[in-house]
């Protein structure tokens, strides 16, 4: 398709981009992909733990977005649609893994080498937080990641996960409290480290 230079697609809203995608504007589709690919990657990597699997899921997500572009309902946000597709694919992947019963080699060796998590430096703090997030039960982790990492509104999350608004709020709050309790033993140490760590000085 011939590129129309008079249009600045980067500044277009998601819905306007989607209208153009429906008219087979691949440049608009590319802008849409760029807008969501890294957000989704960071969301899914915290659920699936494998960059390769996440990349495959994202490829499939955008292929489906493109294939089903004509069935997009403009009453909904594009973000909701894209997230719904990606999370459903991620959920299928998790189910498949559960059936096959994968053993994460990295996790296994970590367990052998470090039976107890100790905070050594600033980067370790990030690791501990990341690991604790992954230990949350799936439904709480999902809601927590969408809210606190992706900054989606509670209403959007309710639509994406197909659960009532109150349930989303309660899951997010529960996840935050679980995480706080999980990290509590390390938090004192974290607080002390914050005085000397470059990372924590930046955040605390």
């Amino acid at each position: 398709m011939k590129r129309d230079k008079s249009l600045n697609r980067d500044k277009m809203s998601d819905l306007d981009l989607m209208r153009r995608v429906q008219k087979d504007d691949m440049v608009a589709f590319n802008v849409l992909v760029n807008r969501y690919k890294n957000r989704l990657f960071n969301t899914l990597i915290r659920m699936l733990d494998s960059a390769e699997a996440v990349e495959d899921i994202l490829q499939e997500t955008f292929i489906r977005v493109h294939q089903h572009r004509m069935s997009f309902d403009f009453r909904y946000a594009v973000s909701t649609w894209v997230y719904t597709i990606a999370l459903n694919l991620a959920r299928n992947e998790l189910r498949r893994r559960k059936r096959i019963n994968f053993v994460d080699i990295a996790d296994f060796s970590n367990r052998l080498e470090a039976p107890e998590e100790k905070i050594d430096n600033g980067s370790k703090i990030k690791e501990v937080v990341e690991k604790s997030v992954k230990k949350l039960p799936h439904k709480y982790r999902q809601a927590f990641i969408l809210r606190d990492f992706d900054n989606l509104s509670y209403e959007e999350i309710a639509q994406i996960l197909s659960v009532p608004l109150g349930t989303v709020k309660s899951r997010v709050n529960r996840a935050r409290n679980m995480l706080r309790n999980m990290l509590k033993p390390n938090m004192e140490e974290l607080y002390e480290l914050s005085k000397g760590s470059v990372f924590t000085l930046g955040i605390l």
Binding site: N38, L58, Q59, R64, D148, V163, P164, N173, R180, L204
Partner: protein, 232 residues
């Protein structure tokens, strides 16, 4: 506000998601509770730590691979459906959905129980499931029971489809309205009153297949409206 409630609100407080009144109550509690104040600090640290976790980026050739796949993808419609966003369900519907299997099982049990204790007996249409020799008394209002004399009531037969099972011992009247078995005659009663085909009002006898005879009233039409009007 007690400590338990206060601590459950701390995460939302650190994200500024509390209502004005909740915030006010929490702040009042925090003023007087050093334990919760410490917990609040932890919640705030955690909130900041989470939001400052590094963001990763996809490989640079992601888009190229994607467009290649889209270009090579078959034009036919996929068998798998993309999940379209749906309106978030109401809490009531969500809760009902969670208990759907339990509700379904209960409903089946209740229906089965109702059917078992129903005066019409646990029979299928046409009397197929009725064991020969079962002594089932006529119970429907189509049959007037006057001191043991069961008589078919002319008006009551209107709107009925009558079937006789091959068991010979039983004759069955079936309501066209809802398929319920209304009257079952025992051998003795049948001998007394004859075949439903001889009942007054029943003029048309049709035999459908080797397994059953069907007696159809001439006034009965497969039109639901007319059947409703018939006197039951």
């Amino acid at each position: 506000m007690n400590c338990r409630k206060a601590r459950s609100l701390l995460s939302a407080f650190s994200k500024d998601e509390l209502s004005y009144s909740e915030k006010d109550k929490l702040l009042q509690h925090l003023e007087s509770c050093p334990g919760c104040r410490k917990e609040k600090e932890l919640a705030e640290q955690l909130s900041k730590a989470v939001s400052s976790l590094p963001k990763q980026e996809l490989s640079e050739d992601f888009n190229m691979k994607l467009f290649e796949k889209i270009h090579n993808a078959p034009r036919s419609v996929e068998t798998t459906r993309a999940h379209l966003p749906r309106r978030a369900p109401s809490l009531v519907f969500y809760r009902l959905k969670q208990f759907a299997p339990a509700i379904a099982v209960t409903a089946v049990l209740v229906l089965a129980f109702t059917f078992m204790v129903s005066p019409d007996g646990p029979n299928g249409i046409g009397g197929k499931q009725i064991a020969a020799g079962d002594a089932i008394q006529p119970t429907g209002h189509q049959m007037a029971d006057n001191g043991g004399n069961v008589q078919p009531v002319n008006s009551g037969l209107r709107g009925l489809k009558l079937e006789q099972s091959m068991l010979e011992s039983l004759s069955v009247a079936v309501s066209l309205r809802n398929g319920r078995i209304l009257d079952i005659l025992s051998d003795e009663q049948k001998a007394q009153f004859g075949s439903p085909g001889n009942w007054p009002g029943v003029q048309n006898v049709k035999t459908s297949g080797p397994s059953r005879s069907r007696y159809v009233l001439p006034t009965v039409r497969p039109d639901a409206g007319l059947v409703k009007e018939a006197a039951y």
